[in-house]
Amino acid sequence: MLMTRLRMRRSLRLSGGILSLLIVLTLTLTLPEHAAAAAERPHGLPPANDATYIPQLGGLLNKTLRNHYGQEKELAECVVLRGSTVKDGKVSVPAGGLFYASSTSLDAKPLRSDPFLILGETSYLLSLKTAQVTKKGVELKKRDKVLLDDRGYRLWWDYSTDHYGKPYGEFAVMAPSGGWQSELPISSSFPEPELAKALKVKEGINPQLEPFFLTSSYAYGATKLTAKNITHEDAVFTEVRYPVVKEAVFSLDRPYVIGIQQESYRWWRNKRIYAFRKENGILVEVRNWTGGKVLASKLLTPITQQEYKTTDQQKMALTDFDLDMHIELVVDPSLFKGSDWIPWANDVPFGWTHGTISFVIYHDLVKLKDGDPWPRDNRYIVGLEAESMSGMLKRVVLENKEPFELTNEKDSYAGPISMSDYWDRRYFSVVVNKIEGEVVKNSYVRDNWFRRTDNLILWKEGRENADFFVGMSELVVSVMEDTFLNRLADPTYGVPVVKSKFSSYPAVIASAKGFAPDPDCAFVPKMKGLTRKFVETRKGERLTSADAIVIRGSYVDYRKGKIVIPPAGLYYTSRLGRNVRPLAGEAIYILGKKAYLLSTESYLVVRKNVALDFWKLLPMGDGNPLFWQDIPLGDGSKTVRFLGSRLLWGRPVAQARIIKYSGNAFGADMLLGPGLSNYSPIYGEKAVQDQVYSLPDMYAEGATYAIPRWVSPDMVEIAEMGSPGMDSFTISYEPPQKLVLKTGGEAAVGKYKLRVASVDQGLKTVQLVLRDDKGTVVMEKKLGPVDKKVYDLLPQYSPAQQKVMMQYQDVHIELDLPADFKDGKVTLFATTGAHKLERDKPWASDKRYVMRPDVCGHCYMLNEFIMDNPEPIVLDAKNPTYTGPDGYFKIVIDDFDGEKIQAWHMEDKTGWKTPNLAELPRNNIDVMVGVNGTTEHFLRKTLLKRLAYREVWRLK
């Protein structure tokens, strides 16, 4: 369906028939999105926009287990229904529309007893067969999710914008379940990041650089997207490479460790296990009870933590499905003490362990093949999904093979049959009834202990689909990407407030810059006095200007009975849907007043030879962060933070991020794993691994770059890095007036007179003269030449901007672009009242606040305008209120007992009050009010928790 829509659009553009274009436009617009999506296969697509999310159902497990190296794995299960439709009293679910998914944090690898949940059973991953799919010549359009293969993988073009007028987009490879890991910024119009190595810049402040780096081939471990051509509307990829998992073997029982003295045996169940020491390994023999008959034997080498061994799984283990045994040779079973399931183990007495060989024996084996039916229930197909970077197992999915229908009479569909130790029974069932014509009014999921969810149709009027997502799984974060903001901003259940966890010390911080608000803080989606308005640019682009208020890092000092908001803890932020650019009449609302952006002053901050230490929650370990190792960039409005690291084939991959003043992160993750280009392990069998891995040697996205010198798991040395900074920007509250002048033409601009001295149509220049009221020339400037070179660098490049604008005191004049000077006429935009807003300077009409313009790390443009408190704000019984800049909003503490905040709210300038933001007692007044890019980023980080907590609030 989607493809036909695409094809139709394209053929129309070719024919150019405006009428037919209109018809199709109305068609595509009137067709509801989900109805269009339902017609095609549901793989990779999310449930309907109004699908219910419920986090808890007793039978769906959430567990944190450890593998035998003590590494924690967070395991979670979920059940999802998507693509369902209701028609004529029937609910139809397409093939693949109902699925169960079990996933692990990061990934699961063989040979380390990585735990996994399979329909509620704790199991261990034993072996894996992986592969990589390479698709050539993939084409898609903006916002499309295009199918890549018959398993249902898709490529998604989520977002696109432009720089110097050239497009770039963010793309993600989606698994059939709808899960995706990272959006990769790609363009075909800009220099490759590698070229940043050739930059010659000094440490410290440098002028704005011209080049804008963006790769056309993004490498993310086993995933790689290579673009051929990306325009504003279409993208063509020469190659899309992503990992898949073909086969996985699990053991459904806890392992058993036995220590055998070499050249001897021990009994295991009804068999004898022998161990013989050979020149190149240990020969293990499985014999019958008497030892007379060898049932299986193999020469084993020990499993250890080296990752390459996973490619050599055949050599590392004896697997026999007939005997239902899988034996691995372990070095030191004491390591198993770190695992949650301490395996059954016997041991030799008195520490006489010399010459003892330890085997770990798994049984209850089950082999799952991607695309094959689930062994217990052929109504379901097994899907094995890979982690995008390592290519190892991320998720096991069981989806319905055939489409099915539910009616009022036959109202339930059983989930897959589980493999239990006691009773193989359906793991869950989906019940849908009270179907009335085109709507369904009752739907729930029952687990294997007969417990059920609440009615998943939350509205009395019923719903036109029965889609849902049940379970506290990481998958919800990527699946609900399209709708999470609407969900969280939904005012139906008020403002959910989480009760604070009280601790016996005040969580004091000295300055909150770079901090995010408390992940549990209340989110007020709408406060009347805040601005959220469309701003139309000269090109007719409609952008949303929205402001928001954030309080972060606040705490109660219970010993003094005071609420403290540290410096930078209270900020007001205003921004556009994207960066604010000059020369286009773009504006943002500052404290409710429309401010036209005229120009910006930004530069590049360069640091050389710095070491970046790994970030840990030190020293309290309670989730209260202390960013002691952040590396400030230049003026300190941005810092680099080392967020995490992992190993990919033994090579450390550091994940760092540029953190902005607001606490938001900038751009995509900085993945630093130099030296991994088209790597494929040489050990083992190609057929087992069959994947090629690449990682970028360095990071460069837009104007921000980092060249690592050395990457270790907990430290990165950076040879050179740079990111933009901004000192000030110029705005005017008065709208620019349009002036069309010929040579010799004059116009009044404020108290000055502007005269066009000459226009050169050939050279594309114009000479402007500005006189004061006495007639003296105060400024003269030649604008242009407005040639291709200038256009190519506009609107972002500052020297190019200077060629098309003139500023004198409060007067600002700019050329209307594109300028062709036809008939010697020149179109100008002139405004008075231009004034600079400078970084770290107090806000003119309210000195309690300091201005912090924030620059975009891509393009040197104004990203957001922040005003924050330079001094701590102390609230207590005597001073229970604090006003925002110019009284724009007000913080009111209603009820505070010295330790617990029992009631507080915010007010806008008209006195409109938010609900009580401490309906459950709190120990801080962190809050997010309003929706803009800044709060959206924080919400995305805490999405799973917030979505889940809304449910608690709904039932309240």
Partner: protein, 389 residues
């Protein structure tokens, strides 16, 4: 109901014997451990808040039923709608055991400690309050409590006269309903020269009325949409027995339980004054044979453990410990209350309802309900006047 006084009565009943140590009024450890143990075991089986180590509880079972049954407007039947919290579970478990299975005699001495555990709970309740609570509940609640104690006594004297009930019984009922039930009843008994049957009768009426209140009031409260504070005050003013007051409050919500515990202390403090008031109201001049000194009544009847409550409360107001510690104290408090509620359930004989008889029902229940109605009207007025939320 004299047979309910299970400690060795002979000691107190023999004036000629050497005055025994007051500790002999307590049943010995050897006698009381079965009852104590039974209370603890039943409480744990019911599911104590903050004690999640033992998963197989009645509470967990009810929650399981809730998750199996279809939710009603998103809410579970037992926990959300019928409000089977630990208070109800403990009480019902106790009542069921006593009235269906029966309680062995060996438990009885231990069960008498349930009142003691309630006192422990009330003292620890101090850790849940800050000064703000007093300010919040404020003078209005004090006024309401004073009004309800003395006004309630007046209602009963009026009813007593109207039904020609006799002064002693009127006094007993007035004391039982307007102050703290059984103990006030017993305290006033010798002063109004009551007979043992009358004492037993008054106790039966007040206890059964309290029992009805315990389950009915929270529903009425929810029906009227009362706030936690208002309900706490209502339960303290309307329910006769102290432990029933607290159970009713906690049955509504934790916050309401806190308030009712707090207001109940106000009522306890008023006992001496109330006793004297009833004494002078009910008995004609000619009957006042005993000479009564105000100070001796105050000294004898004043609930001393209120000082313990005040002490803990003061410490909490001075932030002697942070919130997590007071939350832990709240849990421990709940455990003691649970023991008390189990004990309360185990000593509740539904046969008492029959004992109270029709007249008792008329006088006690009508007057008791009138008090509650009066209290509701008062609350309505102060809420509408904006003095109280």
């Amino acid at each position: 109901m004299a047979q309910d006084v299970t400690y060795d009565q002979t000691v107190a009943g023999r004036p000629e014997a050497r005055k025994p140590s007051i500790w002999s009024a307590l049943p010995s450890w050897q006698k009381s451990w079965p009852g104590l143990l039974a209370m603890a075991v039943i409480a744990i089986l019911c599911g104590l808040p903050g004690l999640e180590v033992f998963p197989f509880t009645i509470d967990a079972l009810l929650r399981y039923f809730d998750s199996v049954l279809p939710p009603i407007y998103g809410k579970g039947l037992f926990v959300d709608l019928l409000h089977f919290n630990y208070v109800v579970t403990c009480l019902v478990a106790g009542i069921v055991i006593r009235n269906v299975i029966g309680v062995p005699k060996s438990w009885e001495p231990g069960l008498t400690y349930s009142g003691c555990f309630m006192n422990v709970g009330i003292i620890m309740l101090g850790s849940q309050y800050v000064l703000r609570d007093l300010v919040k509940l404020g003078p209005i609640s004090i006024v309401i409590m004073v009004f309800m104690v003395f006004g309630g006594a007046l209602i009963f004297t009026f009813m007593g006269r109207y039904f020609k009930m006799g002064d002693a019984l009127t006094g007993l009922l007035a004391a039982a309903f307007s102050m703290c039930g059984v103990s006030a009843c017993i305290a006033i008994a010798p002063m109004v020269r009551a007979k043992s049957e009358e004492v037993a009768y008054a106790i039966a009426v007040s206890v059964t009325f309290g029992l009805v209140c315990l389950f009915a009031l929270p529903f009425i409260g929810r029906l009227l949409g009362l706030s936690n504070d208002a309900f706490g005050l209502l339960s303290a003013a309307g329910v006769p027995n102290s432990n029933q007051v607290i159970a009713t409050g906690f049955n509504f919500s934790f916050e309401a339980g806190k308030v009712s515990g707090f207001s109940n202390i106000g009522r306890l403090v008023l006992i001496p004054a109330g006793v004297l008031f009833i004494y002078f109201m009910t008995l004609g001049k000619e009957l006042r044979t005993t000479t009564i000194s105000f100070w001796s009544v105050l000294k004898e009847k004043f609930p001393l453990f209120v000082f313990g409550f005040a002490f803990v409360w003061t410490l909490n107001c001075l932030q002697a410990w942070p919130v997590p510690a007071s939350e832990a104290m709240g849990n421990v408090m709940n455990w003691f209350f649970s023991l008390c509620f189990v004990g309360l359930g185990l000593t509740t004989k539904l046969a008492d309802l029959k004992k109270a008889g029709p007249k008792g029902i008329v006088i006690g229940y009508v007057a008791g309900s009138m008090r509650i109605g009066l209290c509701l009207i008062l609350l309505f007025i102060v809420i509408k006047m904006g003095y109280f939320k």
